[in-house]
Symmetry: C2
Subunit: 401 residues, 2 copies
Amino acid sequence: MTSGPAATGPHVLRRINATAVLNALRAADGHTATVSDLVVATGLSRPAVTRALTTLAESGIAEFAGTTEHQIGRPAQRARFRAELGHVAGIDIGPHKLHVMTADLAGTVLAERRATTPPEPTGPRLVALLRATLADVAAEAGITPTDLWSVAVGTPGIVDHDRGEVVLAPSIPGWSSLPMIAELRDWLGCPVGIENDVNLAVVAERWRGEAGDNLLFVQWGERIGTGMVIDDKPYRGASSAAGELGFIDLVTDLDDEPKPPTDGLGAFERLVGAGEILRLGVQRCERPLRDRLTGTDDIGPLFDAAAAGDPAALSVVDTIATRFARGLAVQLLIMDPQCVVVGGGVSRAGDVLFDAVRRRLGRQLLVPIDLRVSALGAGNVALGAVRMALDQVEERLTALL
Amino acid sequence: MTSGPAATGPHVLRRINATAVLNALRAADGHTATVSDLVVATGLSRPAVTRALTTLAESGIAEFAGTTEHQIGRPAQRARFRAELGHVAGIDIGPHKLHVMTADLAGTVLAERRATTPPEPTGPRLVALLRATLADVAAEAGITPTDLWSVAVGTPGIVDHDRGEVVLAPSIPGWSSLPMIAELRDWLGCPVGIENDVNLAVVAERWRGEAGDNLLFVQWGERIGTGMVIDDKPYRGASSAAGELGFIDLVTDLDDEPKPPTDGLGAFERLVGAGEILRLGVQRCERPLRDRLTGTDDIGPLFDAAAAGDPAALSVVDTIATRFARGLAVQLLIMDPQCVVVGGGVSRAGDVLFDAVRRRLGRQLLVPIDLRVSALGAGNVALGAVRMALDQVEERLTALL
């Protein structure tokens, strides 16, 4: 338990116990906890928990928050983590949109903003937009960016976790060679993590949404990516490149060579991504729906029309459901997960789309699958980045003890 | 370490130590080990290892096998596991062939036989063939089937490990509803395990072939199946149905509904399996090669001709390599393994095929892949079944102590 005389003594024990109680309080996700709750969560004695809470309160990390009256016995003392002590930011950056959230240290989102990226985005342009948007969102939460304790960034492509760099991101020219994380760290003076956007969506699902030990998560928006949870752990593959369903090719004639992509999109996402859904909508639907779908990135009106029985909109749903089920079936035949959760922008299309997908999937699989639509919608990557940023603040918190 | 007075005492300790030394001797895979080797392998003292070896020798499980002369010090006593004490059988059963091996308790194969299954195989016919073949192979090893200590069966399809039953095996009509394992157990009076054939091929690869912590194994023969090793553990999926690459559909027009298979073969294995390779060979090659490929299941002459520069044979290689690379690329984009090992009958096709596959794969992947050909060939499923059968004999061995 100890590594020598230097690591023992009441001071060290006090810090260890305070850290354990702090972690239990933080796990309450913004709620208060009684001393009894914390005794159960930490395995410490009641006096040790009370002493730890006093230490945390003296450091400004926690506070006592009134009592609960019991019918029998003394009132239960309640405590809470002072989540307002600091702030974190979660960022979702992609070829078409930027999404920035600030949250308190309990993960409660205080401000968020979505921005559309300029056409033909490049790395440096995206970083400039990111800095401006982060400053706006911080101001709305009453702070400046340099007040942030921790930031995490979700990005398309393959991330080198050891070096904190984007290794490959075909959808954003110049992105992978950019020292973006180092620049943000210099500017903000706090830890800045980076992670593949779909992996962060999975983090958000497990934090706030559907959970499962063996789960396939499909992020369906402009692009298609998947994240897998195997034995309750994220599976990233040997080169952090697993789950690239968006790049599988189901259309090139089998005896021909597939052509390399020219627009940064993979073969499958080009067939079922939000861009193709809108393109089919404009092509097949009549006015006024056609006009509403022209020059927008909002697929909502198309699926609303389909749900109301519009035949042209239904034909788009039919085409997209057929294609999506074909690609998803491939990954299900290979992975055999317990359930599939679909998130991302297209996940808001509703039952009209997903019932059609379920019908088509059934006929192509060897075992039935439980397909669910995420409750988190398109904000899940930024939310997963908030969660990652929260995981990075422990060191700064315990330094206060 | 102990569970009460009944579990202590010199008798129990002697059994525990003898079992530890026995396991270390068995891990030597048929070779002898010195007392010093066993001290290192078990962590027991030299006197304890010597006492354990005496116990094992008295039970007939091990024997002393001479000494090694050292230049300095006393000669090292050597011991060996008496692998001839019993026999196991490993069985690979499929829609077109049956492969039965008997081995001693060290896994040395003593006799093996391949049989071609009758056309239109049914479960009962296969069981009859299995019983006859097992009796032949046992006789060749000087025993009768009821002398076997343990048997394991590899089968296509999805296996319910809890119930020891085949749940789904579209390639053999009637197979999945058959109480085959229970019948074999009644006949043989020994443990009979059952496992998906491709999972057993992976077991054989890790026992006798290429090993890896994160590995995709592709069994390529008449059928296509894959086995994955993730974090050094076999990954079977939530319903033991993972890795069904043979069933992915890369040919049906994307906007059409895929048709259910009528011949038990999945869409992808119908395109690249040994049957299709031979069909293309007969279709494209001239006599006398065409005649050699007609009515056989041996693809060897086709690949020999391709390696020698025969243009028609090379065109078959080109078609098959292009198709196989397309399907494999899909699984690699999803799984991102450290390396791929190809086994099964087609793996013996040689560099002429696999160099072509490697060239085509490269252009479709986001990260490079290390593709290797298994050294074990088509016998890997039966060999993996032998390994599984060996894992089942521990109880019977320790009962002798």
